[in-house]
Symmetry: C3
Subunit: 315 residues, 3 copies
C-alpha cells in the first residue's frame, strides 16, 4: 500500500509514495512500516526508530529522525487503531493451496484446515479442531478436540495441545475516542509455539498486535491459563492452573508461576524466578533464582514473615 493512499482513508492528507506493509513499535519497525508515539516516555525510542513513518503529535514532530516521515495528528494511538484495520488480513481465506499434511498424520473428522497451512508428520488433529489459514505445525504434535488455532500461528514439533484451547485469538487492544467509543487495534501479529510444549485445556493465548506472542521450547502450561498479546515465554517456563499474564510481559528461562498467580503488563521476570500461587507481579524482577509470593509481591520468606506479623494483629 502507498502511504498517501492509506492515510487518505482516515482523512489525513500527506504526499508520500512510500510503500508500507504494516504497523509496528518504534524499535521494531522497518523502513516499510508505520509506527507511533503516544506516550512521552518512549521518546528515546523515537530517536532510534527506523520506521518509514511515525504518527506523532505536533510537539514531537521535531524529534522524528531524518529518514522517517512524521505523520502529525492529535491522537496517534487512536490514529494507529484506525489504520490497523487496513493492514488486517482476511478473517478467512477462500483462495490458496490446500493444507499440506505430512506422512502418517491423522486428521480426524470435522477438522477445519485452512488455506496454505502445513502439518508435519505423525501428528494427530482431533475432531472439532480448527486450524486456520497459513498455520504451520511441526512433527509428532497432538492437538486434542475442539482446539482453535487462528490464522498465521505456528506450533512446533513434539507438542501436545489439550482440548478447548485457543491459540491466536485477538489481543485485547483498542483506543478510546473522546466520545467513549472503542476503536479496535487489529491484531495483525501471531503466536509462535516452540518444540516440546504442552498446553492444558481451555487456555487462551492471544496473538500479538505486531510481531509475535512467543511460547518457547519445553514450556509447560496447565489449564485455563490466559496469556495476553505480545508476551514472551522463554524456554522451560512453567505456568500452573489459572495463571494470567498481561500484555507484553516477558518471562525469562525457567520461570515458574504457581496457580492463579498473575502479572501486570510490560514487565520482565528474571530467569529461574518462582512466583508462588496467587502471587501478583507488578514490576520487573531483575535478580534471577528468587522466590516471590503475595500481592503486593514480597520475597517468599518475607511474605511468610509478614503474614505471621499480620496475624498477630488479632491478639
Amino acid at each position: 500500500m502507498i502511504l498517501s493512499d492509506i492515510l487518505k482513508k482516515i482523512d489525513i492528507s500527506l504526499n508520500s509514495n512510500l510503500r508500507v506493509s504494516g504497523l509496528n513499535t518504534l524499535l521494531d519497525a522497518s523502513e516499510n512500516e508505520i509506527s507511533f508515539l503516544e506516550n512521552k516516555k518512549y521518546i528515546k525510542d523515537l530517536s532510534k526508530t527506523k520506521a518509514g513513518a511515525v504518527l506523532v503529535k505536533k510537539e514531537f514532530e521535531k524529534n522524528v529522525p531524518e529518514n522517517t516521515i512524521a505523520i502529525v495528528c492529535e491522537e496517534p494511538y487512536l490514529t494507529l487503531a484506525r489504520l490497523s484495520k487496513f493492514f488486517a488480513p482476511k478473517v478467512i481465506e477462500t483462495q490458496g493451496n490446500d493444507c499440506i499434511i505430512g506422512e502418517n498424520t491423522n486428521i480426524m473428522s470435522n477438522v477445519y484446515l485452512g488455506k496454505d497451512s502445513k502439518i508435519g508428520k505423525n501428528c494427530t488433529i482431533m475432531s472439532g479442531s480448527f486450524i486456520g489459514d497459513n498455520v504451520s505445525i511441526g512433527d509428532n504434535t497432538t492437538i486434542y478436540s475442539n482446539v482453535s488455532v487462528y490464522r498465521d500461528c505456528t506450533i512446533g514439533s513434539d507438542c501436545i495441545i489439550h482440548a478447548g484451547t485457543v491459540i491466536g485469538s485477538d489481543g485485547f487492544g483498542f483506543a478510546h475516542t473522546k466520545t467513549g467509543k472503542y476503536i479496535k487495534i487489529y491484531q495483525n501479529g501471531n503466536v509462535t509455539v516452540g518444540n516440546d510444549v504442552e498446553i492444558g485445556a481451555n487456555c487462551s493465548i492471544d496473538r500479538a498486535a505486531f510481531n509475535s506472542t512467543i511460547i518457547g521450547n519445553g514450556v509447560r502450561i496447565d489449564n485455563l491459563v490466559h496469556i495476553a498479546h505480545n508476551c514472551v515465554l522463554k524456554d522451560g517456563c512453567i505456568l500452573t492452573g489459572q495463571v494470567g499474564l498481561s500484555g507484553s510481559t516477558t518471562l525469562n528461562e525457567f520461570v515458574i508461576m504457581g496457580g492463579q498467580s498473575a502479572t501486570a503488563g510490560h514487565l520482565e521476570i528474571a530467569p529461574f524466578t518462582t512466583i508462588a500461587a496467587r502471587g501478583g507481579v507488578t514490576k520487573s524482577i531483575t535478580e534471577p533464582k528468587k522466590q516471590w509470593a503475595g500481592f503486593p509481591l514480597f520475597e517468599h520468606r518475607q511474605w511468610l514473615k509478614l503474614q505471621s506479623r499480620i496475624a498477630k494483629l488479632l491478639k
Copy 2:
C-alpha cells in the same frame, strides 16, 4: 398452562384456572407469572408485585396483594425450583423453521444452526460453532470457531466473539432440600448482547434465571471471563482477563474491571468506576468515577497507603 394443573404436578392442590406462562421475580412478574417470597427482606417487593400468583410461607400469606393468588408452601424457593422445570423450553427443538441467513454471510463447515434462528448480513460463523434455537444475530458479526450460543440468546451487529466462548449456559441456580439434594432452578431466561461488542476466547456468560443477562453496546470483554446469570453490563464496560461476576450484579456505564478482579452478587457499581486487578467488590459502589483496589476493597489511593503501612509490620 393452568395454575391448578401445574401445581398438581408438585402435589399442591389449589383451585384456580389462571393461565400462567412462567416464573419471575416479585417486581418483574406479570399477571400471568408466578413469583415467590423466600427471604423476608424482599417483603416490600411483595406488596408491590403484579404477579398472578406468589409462593409464600403461611406467615406471609396476609401480605400478598389482593389481585395476587397466594400459594402457601413451606419452602417457597424449593417449590419454585420444582416448578421451574415445567416452564423450561426443550433442550433442542426438532421442529420449526430453518435458520434465516442474511446476504453475504459465510456459514463455514460443521456449524450447527438451530430452528427459528436468524443471522444477519455480512456475518462469518466459523467451523465448529453452535447456534442454538431461536437465536438472533445482527449484521457484520464475526463468530470464531467452537463458540456455543445457547437457545433464545440474541447478539447484535458489529460484534466479534472469539473462539471457545459460551453464551447462554445455565446460571448456577438450585434449591437445597432438607436431605441435601439440590433441585435445579431451570434457567428460562436468556442472554442479550448489544452492538459493537467484542468478547474474548473461552469466556462463559450465563443465561438469566428469569428475563435476561444483558451485555450492553460497545462492551469489551477479554479472555476467560465469567459472567453469572442476570448480570447487567451497561454500555462501554471493559472486563479484562479472568474477571468473575457473581449473579445479578449490575455494572453501570463504562465500568472498568482489571484482571482477575471479581464481584459478589446482587450489587451495583456506579458509572465510570475502575476496579484494579484482583479487586474484590462485595458491596454496591454508589459514587461514580472512583478507583478501587484490594480485597477487601479500598479506594485505590487508600489501598496503596494501607499496603505501605502493612509492609512496615516487617520492621
Copy 3:
C-alpha cells in the same frame, strides 16, 4: 508386559519375568504394578506396599518389602516418568466396537463417538462434542455443544455438562532432568463423574495420573473451574465460578467453595466446610462444618476481625 523387557527400554537391566500392567502409588499398587519412592516422607508407605516392584534409590533398597522387587535407580520419579509412556493407551483407537447408544438418545450432527464407548437412554449429545474411546455415559444425561470427554472416562446418569467443558485432559505431571528437560508422566488414569452432577461451561477436569479423579454424586460445579488430577470430590460438593483445585486434594461431603477460591494439592477438607470467595486453602481442614476465608486462610469470623484490625493501620 514383562518387567525385564520394559526396563530394558530405559536401559535398566534387571532379570525378572514379572508381568506388569501399570504404575501406581505405593499404597494402591497391586502385585502386577510398579510403584516408586522419591520422597523420604512416604517411607512408611513403602513398608506397606503390595507393589510387584518399586523404583527406589540405593539407600532405600533395604526398606523394600520381601515380596516386592526393588528397582534401584538414581532418580525414581524421573524413571517413573520414562516408564509411564509404555503404559499409555493409544491417543485414538482405530479398532474396536462402535459406540452403543441407548433408546431415545439424540446424538446430534458433528459428534465424535469413540470405539467401545457406551451412552445410555434419553441422553442428548450436542453438536461438536467429542466422546473418546471406552467412555461410558449413563441415562438422561445432557452434554451440550463442544464438550470433550477424553478416553476411558465415565459419566453417570442425570448429569448436565455445559458447553466447552473438558473432562479427562492430562494432569499436569512431569519430572525434571538435571539438564532442565521435562519428562511427561503419562496420565494413565481417568475421571469418573457420579450421578446427578451439573458441570458449568468451559471447565477443565483432569484425568488421574494413576486411578481416578472422582466427582461424586450430586456435585454442582460452576463455570471455568479447574480440577487437577487425582482430586476427589465427595457427594454434594459445590464449586462456584473460577475455583481451582490442585492435584490429589480431597473435598469431603458437601464442601462449598466460593468464587475464585482455591486449594493447594495433597490435602483434605472436612465435610460441610465452607470456603469463602478467594479463600486459599494450603493445609488440610479436619474439623467439619466450619467457615473459612482469606489467603492465608482464617476462620471466617476471625478473618473479618483481622480485616478490620488491618484497616485500622490507615489511621
